[in-house]
Symmetry: C2
Subunit: 207 residues, 2 copies
């Protein structure tokens, strides 16, 4: 087994190189998808030789696997922060903003996820029906409570969450399209998107 996989970054070099490789791999995988990426591409991007990459990781799948693991944790975080509050509309809009910030600051992670889902989620199907479903159901129940208490307008909680995911992730996954369509006005796309989404979800939730 490769060093890095077993001993989690024992030496300084191991920690550095491992991160270097993972960063390069994220760049490549998020752009070309798993099958479309080659170890050589990752090696070039990382400024290392191919055998050197394979000294730290057991293979292409192993690198991809580590990236997906990290991703899923990061992905659930913003939703985790959604809790009960006196101002549910604000609580939900805050979540929208957190997701939009992630699309802006971590577009590669978003695209890695999108690629995986598009291909039928072969490697993360269990997490989708497991931890993701559990967490989503939990938050959907919370939203339903708010509706029952008359604090927000009646909406299907699950589909509201889907709308939040899709509208925010769109600015990462479809960035090329967004920029192409906006042309020279694409500079402030995230500010305008924030304003627009804020308005939109407030309107939906308003009684």
């Amino acid at each position: 087994m490769a060093r890095a996989a077993s001993t989690k970054g024992r030496t300084r070099i191991q920690r550095e190189k491992t991160e270097q490789i993972l960063d390069a791999a994220l760049e490549v995988f998020s752009t070309y998808g798993f099958r479309g990426s080659t170890i050589d591409q990752i090696a070039t991007e990382a400024g290392l030789s191919k055998p050197n990459i394979l000294y730290y990781f057991d293979g292409k799948e192993a690198i991809h696997g580590v990236l997906l693991d990290r991703l899923l944790h990061k992905w659930l975080e913003p939703l985790n922060q959604l809790t009960d509050s006196d101002d549910p509309t604000r609580e939900i809009c805050d979540y929208v903003m957190r997701k939009l910030e992630m699309a802006r600051d971590f577009p590669r992670e978003s695209r890695l996820f999108a690629n995986e889902i598009l291909q039928g989620a072969p490697r993360i199907h269990d997490q989708l029906t497991g931890s993701l479903k559990t967490l989503t159901d939990e938050k959907a129940t919370l939203i339903q409570h708010w509706i029952d208490k008359g604090k927000i307008a009646p909406v299907d909680p699950h589909h509201l969450i889907f709308s939040i995911w899709s509208t925010t992730q769109h600015y990462a996954d479809f960035d090329v399209q967004v920029q192409s369509v906006l042309g020279d006005k694409s500079e402030q796309r995230f500010e305008i998107a924030a304003d627009h989404l804020n308005k939109m979800f407030r309107a939906v939730l308003k009684k």
Copy 2:
């Protein structure tokens, strides 16, 4: 040059086989992306031999190219139908429904498009900044007119369109995730989505 490319389906066999190949290719490309797909996969899916595929098409790129061409036309159609009307809210919601129907009835096309955009749209970048931008700008202007006339609430037209694209296409591109999260309730996902999106965009546009 391959037969099918030059003479547009002259004989019966040419028309049939060409369609057969394109259908198989759509299935494969939409699932694995361009680089992740092989001619052998397409051949197997189509029930033909690899050389036979290459008898009808000049290569992998050529097949993909034809699919993208057809796709783009189909993709712009629903937006094209958005025209001036006494009831702009209804007009926009109708567009949302048309897009949602496309996500339901042509998920492979949606995923093919998503794959292409995700990878930076190397093959359709010109169309994005060309015909897509032109059409989108045109419809954005129309929406702005409606706003100026006070017929709908003020929204950023471009970002409204992005929201429509993302929320509807989500049900095709992220179907695995949607089904995983909804679990046994995923059967009626499109009906509930239609209801939800209808409500949502009505709320956004309401003055």
